[in-house]
Amino acid sequence: EAGVAQSPRYKIIEKRQSVAFWCNPISGHATLYWYQQILGQGPKLLIQFQNNGVVDDSQLPKDRFSAERLKGVDSTLKIQPAKLEDSAVYLCASSLGGPTKMAFFGQGTRLTVV
């Protein structure tokens, strides 16, 4: 079974530039998550989709971050404009849904804003 795919693996941009990350979840997984993991901290949920609808985006900085999941499959996360404090690993995860179903993570995209 293929895992969660993310691209790119690494990205370096200057502050005020924009960047986009892509995620392809495990086939059949209805729930998709984007997490931000700053160095030394645990993953922090940015947004959660159930199929192509947003379930929770309460911690997404909506003035600069946006995400979409067209057709309930692939998802993109965009930052525009980026700030230095956005430097982190952005993790995508997917699950079948339901409280007892574990989430499977991709390898993440390491973003460095200079």
């Binding site: 030394g40 645990g42 574990m102």
Partner: protein, 110 residues
């Protein structure tokens, strides 16, 4: 808000001994708890979980204990192996909302 806390950033144990990783939480609405393991340059991988209606779940060398009254859970690894060296994240769920601790870096020395 830190609803899930792992107060030990690192732990070092000798191969063959027991590793005990601890996690505390504040939200009594969490009903499912998970441990993830993370190697460098990889995403977290699921290790073991426990429902809030249980107090223990065992899978091979890994056992998770849950103390709901203390809002505390722990992961025991017996015996510890060098390949267990990784960062371990505790996670807790309320419905589909999953919150993570900051992680504990476990080093198992040969």
């Amino acid at each position: 808000d830190q609803q899930v806390k792992q107060n030990s950033p690192s732990l070092s144990v000798q191969e063959g001994r027991i590793s005990i990783l601890n996690c505390d939480y504040t939200n009594s609405m969490f009903d499912y708890f998970l441990w993830y393991k993370k190697y460098p340059a990889e995403g977290p991988t699921f290790l073991i979980s426990i429902s809030s209606i249980k107090d223990k779940n065992e899978d091979g060398r890994f056992t998770v204990f849950l103390n709901k009254s203390a809002k505390h859970l722990s992961l025991h690894i017996v015996p510890s192996q060098p390949g267990d060296s990784a960062v371990y994240f505790c996670a807790a769920r309320e419905n589909n909302d999953m919150r993570f601790g900051a992680g504990t870096r476990l080093t198992v020395k040969p």
